[in-house]
């Protein structure tokens, strides 16, 4: 699936981020190819979330170098290729999951053959499509946010604690989404405290400390 000389999607060399002149993490060196999953491991405060926000493009590169598909790190080159799912889910509480997905699709575009209704069934929210998000449970909100991953086109997923708030079935759902995404040539960076039972091959590991 991954050939050694293929150009990686994402390449980091000596990457670090500084806050008040103290490095939050790094220096990190890693490469992520299409069809690869990477787990970002580290304790609380080791900078996992910061790394994901940086890779998403919300933060600037502190020191070191980042490349996207062998090119420079610029916004236009990555446009539409990256999806970020953070602690804040980016859902509007006063709107239904369906409306939220429509907005997201309006901004990002949509994968062929998918619809808001079909992906909501896929993440286990049938019957809740038109319920305002504020009435959903924490786990259901998370599922509504995960539905975005299925609906929107992107090669690289940046998932910050995707397992948080989810029950056993929800965790299985995340793993299934990841496996399908990897199998179809996508890539993902996942931070998590819990163990991941991933069946699509051995994931890469990025250690934040030491």
């Amino acid at each position: 699936m991954t050939s050694a000389h293929a150009i990686p999607l994402l390449q980091a060399r000596g990457l670090s981020f500084l806050r008040a002149d103290e490095p939050v993490f790094g220096p990190l060196d890693f490469a992520l190819h299409a069809g690869e999953l990477a787990l970002v491991e580290g304790d609380n405060g080791s900078g996992k979330t910061t790394l994901l926000r940086l890779l998403g493009g919300l933060l600037h590169v502190g020191e070191g170098e980042l490349q996207w598909r062998g090119q420079g790190w610029n916004r236009d080159a990555r446009a539409g290729e990256v999806l970020f799912l953070g602690h804040q889910l980016g859902l509007k509480m006063d709107m239904s999951p369906r409306e939220n997905l429509h907005i997201a699709a309006g901004l990002h575009g949509m994968r062929e053959g998918r619809s808001a209704a079909s992906v909501l069934v896929d993440v286990g929210l049938p019957g809740y499509e038109d319920e305002p998000v504020r009435r959903l449970s924490a786990g259901q909100k998370k599922r509504a946010a995960l539905a975005r991953l299925l609906l929107l086109p992107a090669v690289l997923w940046l998932l910050d604690e995707p397992y948080a708030n989810l029950d056993r079935a929800g965790i299985a759902l995340v793993n299934r989404l990841l496996e399908e995404h990897i199998a179809s040539g996508g890539a993902a960076l996942v931070t998590s405290h819990g163990a991941v039972s991933f069946h699509g091959g051995e994931p890469k590991r990025i250690r934040m400390h030491g």
Binding site: R19, A20, D21, E22, H60
Partner: protein
């Protein structure tokens, strides 16, 4: 051109280098500022003759006008430093911009107070909505906005970048404010008082004024250096060179 400017700035912009550089030069600037200031005061308060219209009250001009000029000048410096800080992410430029703001605000404040003290005997009122005074007031608010925004952030460098952006917006705003306030003044037939008419100002009055302008500039550099030094120590608290200074290996 676009290559060597950042290179040169990076070299001088390295905090320990600038800390030493500023520490060496600051006493000289301060001494020159004090000498020039003393000369200007002597010339302005003692040597210059009283004005035939305003008597001795006009002597406020020797601090009012240089302060007004410095208020604008420092805003310009702040905006340029802000631009450099935003484009090249140079820490020293951020510091220079943010530490210029209080000095500029101080000079603007002096301008307003001395203007008011001058206005009372001349126009019979402490405050008049004259175009120039009003513009100065708006300038003070611009400074206070920049200072306030800078301190509203927990991360100081992020605060500096946001405030730098505001400073750049502000410098676009300054001429617009000036233009609009002028127009407003003509509309309402406000008191447009010519402090010094088009009549020629005598040399006896001119040289203390110019000397004071030089003195305030030198003072600005001295004050800025002191502030930047204090700031760099704070920002670089964890670094080795600051530690050496703290433990007394260096002055």
């Amino acid at each position: 051109m676009s290559k060597w400017i950042p290179l040169w700035l990076h070299k001088l912009g390295s905090p320990p280098t600038f800390y030493r550089f500023a520490g060496t030069l600051r006493p000289w600037f301060l001494a020159l500022a004090l000498i020039a200031g003393a000369m200007a005061l002597y010339g302005g308060l003692v040597l210059a003759p009283a004005d035939y219209q305003q008597g001795d009250a006009y002597r406020i001009i020797f601090i009012h006008v240089p302060s007004a000029w410095m208020g604008l000048f420092i805003y310009g410096v702040m905006a340029v430093a802000s631009f450099i800080a935003l484009v090249w992410r140079i820490k020293l430029a951020e510091t220079v911009a943010m530490e210029s703001a209080p000095i500029g605000a101080a000079f603007t404040f002096i301008t307003l107070v001395t203007g008011s003290l001058w206005g009372k005997p001349m126009w019979g009122t402490w405050w008049t909505w004259d175009a120039r005074l009003t513009s100065e007031l708006v300038l003070l608010f611009l400074y206070l906005g920049v200072i306030g925004l800078y301190h509203a952030f927990e991360d100081r460098r992020q605060g500096a970048r946001a405030a730098a952006f505001l400073a750049i917006i502000g410098i676009i705003n300054v001429p617009i404010v000036h233009f609009s306030v002028n127009w407003w003044n003509t509309l309402h037939q406000g008191s447009t008082v010519r402090i010094l008419g088009p009549s020629k100002i005598s040399t006896d009055m001119l040289w203390p004024l110019l000397t004071m302008m030089v003195a305030t500039k030198l003072y600005y550099v001295a004050s800025l250096f002191g502030r930047v030094r204090a700031d760099l120590l704070e920002l670089e608290g964890g670094k080795e060179w600051v530690r050496r200074i703290a433990t007394g290996d260096d002055a």
